[in-house]
């Protein structure tokens, strides 16, 4: 699962990690908007460099690159595919924007813990049930992955060979893995539900929280900068126009 490394939260103590999750949500969205405002390869590349700096500040560059390496094959296909319908220059620009979008999402998922995300959603007045479902689903993902591996091991020990056979046989071979996984997941869900019930889950609509999210000065600062970035981008792109060095296109 190394391909998914870019979206896997790791607990670290960096400036980026310490920002409020709502700030990071806002940052990711604004950077996304900026990536879509521009279609100039130079601007998009500058944005990309900026995003890499943010990833470096979050000490997550190596994680991100592992994913990119895993997806590099796919990215090359995207370039080739696009260049069939348009110029190569356009295709490269397209991929740079894709990288920008991926980096935006990565920055968010790498630095925001699922529980903090749930808490951020609650602060944004999303119903607790929904936010909690999200965080509990994420909490059990590694457990589920481990269970899937155990099931695969158990069936392989009975002679199941996942790599053998034609396409149809290979798909059928996943039935002895999916069924136990589903059954065990349902059993687990019931077990967790019992535990939640026994701890007064849902007993009141006015749930309280030990930890409250609080915006610090650095959060306000980042939100201000991010908003300015969007405003300036719109200003320069649509109202004033960009200087020629920024609008240079790849001559291919």
């Amino acid at each position: 699962m190394s391909v998914l490394q870019a979206f896997n939260f790791r607990r670290k103590n960096t400036v980026v990690h310490r920002l409020d999750p709502r700030t990071k949500l806002y940052l990711a969205i604004t950077l996304l908007i900026v990536s879509f405002i521009f279609s100039e390869v130079v601007v998009l590349s500058l944005i990309f460099l900026f995003l890499l700096l943010v990833l470096a500040a979050a000490r997550s560059l190596s994680q991100w690159f592992r994913t990119i390496r895993g997806l590099s094959f796919l990215l090359i296909i995207v370039v080739l595919f696009n260049s069939m319908f348009a110029t190569l220059g356009y295709a490269i620009t397209f991929v740079v924007r894709l990288l920008d979008i991926m980096a935006c999402f990565s920055i968010f998922f790498l630095t925001v813990h699922p529980d903090d995300l749930a808490q951020a959603l609650i602060h944004l007045h999303v119903p607790f049930d929904f936010a909690f479902t999200l965080s509990i689903a994420t909490r059990y993902v590694p457990t589920l992955a481990q269970e899937a591996q155990t099931i695969i091991d158990a069936q392989m020990s009975r002679g199941l060979e996942l790599q053998k056979g034609n396409m149809i046989k290979r798909i059928r071979n996943y039935i002895p893995i999916l069924i136990p996984l589903i059954v065990c997941s349902i059993r687990r869900a019931l077990s967790v539900a019992e535990s939640l019930e026994s701890r007064a889950f849902g007993s009141t609509k006015r749930r309280t929280y030990l930890h409250a999210l609080k915006m610090a000065k650095k959060d306000h600062f980042v939100i201000l900068l991010a908003t300015l970035a969007v405003i300036v981008s719109i200003y320069y792109k649509f109202l004033v126009g960009l200087p020629s060095w920024l609008t240079w296109q790849i001559p291919l």
Binding site: E147, T150, S157, R158, G159, P176, P180, C184
Partner: protein, 273 residues
């Protein structure tokens, strides 16, 4: 015979589970592998059917090097009974559940039917032949999982924590069953932290801690040694604890005893009425 030579294994997400483990298990032995959770017991036995392959060192099963053979090939020789039966059950009927391995190994229809019938009878599951495995109780499902491994008659059987959640009589039946496999000529390897069970049924104990084998020998020697027990986070069998306490007050009272019967006769001998 299973030979492990200086095997090292580290999981992809970090922990080094085995640090230079060497072991030889001969045919027809009944071995218990013991130690606290995280000592490396399950990691070790997963090397015996190729589910895991050593990063350093080698594992040989019946002359086959596990690095050169597939799991499916090793699975014919080494039957692995997992702790949680629900990780295996998926079929519509108990019959097809048990026949799964036989089908995978390419047994002909007639042979399959014979073997399934035989093992269902052995484990008292005949009346559930056409039932859904999911409709059975926990203990019955465990027996179905066991049946689905026994049916292809492997020479070596590995059981991973088979006593968890079992009551006294279930443990007794299980113990008698593995004892009978052993008498038939099978090699039985049990991963367990149930000291009483190991004391009663295993001849040899391999005690592990933190990825290493701390002790490997007859149960009389391993389960009665306080240093080994402490290092492996095990408690001595109650009978042994009693023997050791008596020996503090009664000179010469034997301490290398593990079973209730042995200690009882020693008491009769040394303490008279």
């Amino acid at each position: 015979m299973i030979t492990a030579e200086e095997i090292w294994f580290t999981y992809p997400d970090g922990p080094t589970a085995l640090r230079g483990v060497s072991l030889r298990i001969r045919d027809r032995e009944l071995v218990a592998i013991m130690g606290e959770n995280g000592a490396g017991k399950t990691t070790l036995v997963k090397h015996f059917n190729g589910l895991l392959r050593p990063q350093e060192g080698s594992v040989t099963v019946d002359g086959l090097n596990t690095l050169q053979v597939s799991v499916a090939e090793l699975a014919r020789k080494v039957g692995y009974v997992f702790q949680n039966a629900d990780h295996q059950l998926f079929s519509e009927t108990v019959y097809s559940e048990v026949a799964f391995a036989l089908n995978n190994f390419g047994y002909p229809e007639k042979e399959t039917r014979r073997r399934v019938q035989q093992v269902l009878r052995l484990l008292d599951l005949e009346k559930y032949r056409n039932s859904s495995p999911f409709s059975l109780s926990g203990g019955e499902r465990k027996r179905v999982a066991l049946a689905s491994t026994l049916c292809f008659d492997p020479e070596i059987i590995v059981l991973d924590e088979p006593t968890i959640g079992q009551d006294g009589s279930q443990k007794k039946k299980l113990g008698e069953l593995i004892h009978s496999f052993n008498l038939e000529g099978k090699t039985v390897i049990v991963v367990t932290h149930d000291v009483e069970f190991a004391a009663e049924y295993a001849q040899r104990i391999v005690a592990m801690a933190r990825g290493r084998i701390i002790a490997d020998g007859p149960s009389k020697k391993v389960l009665t040694n306080p240093k080994i027990l402490e290092e492996c986070a095990l408690l001595a069998p109650q009978a042994t604890q009693l023997a050791q306490r008596i020996s503090e007050r009664v000179k010469g009272f034997p301490t290398e005893l593990v079973s209730v019967e042995e200690v009882a006769s020693a008491i009769r001998e040394f303490l008279g009425g």
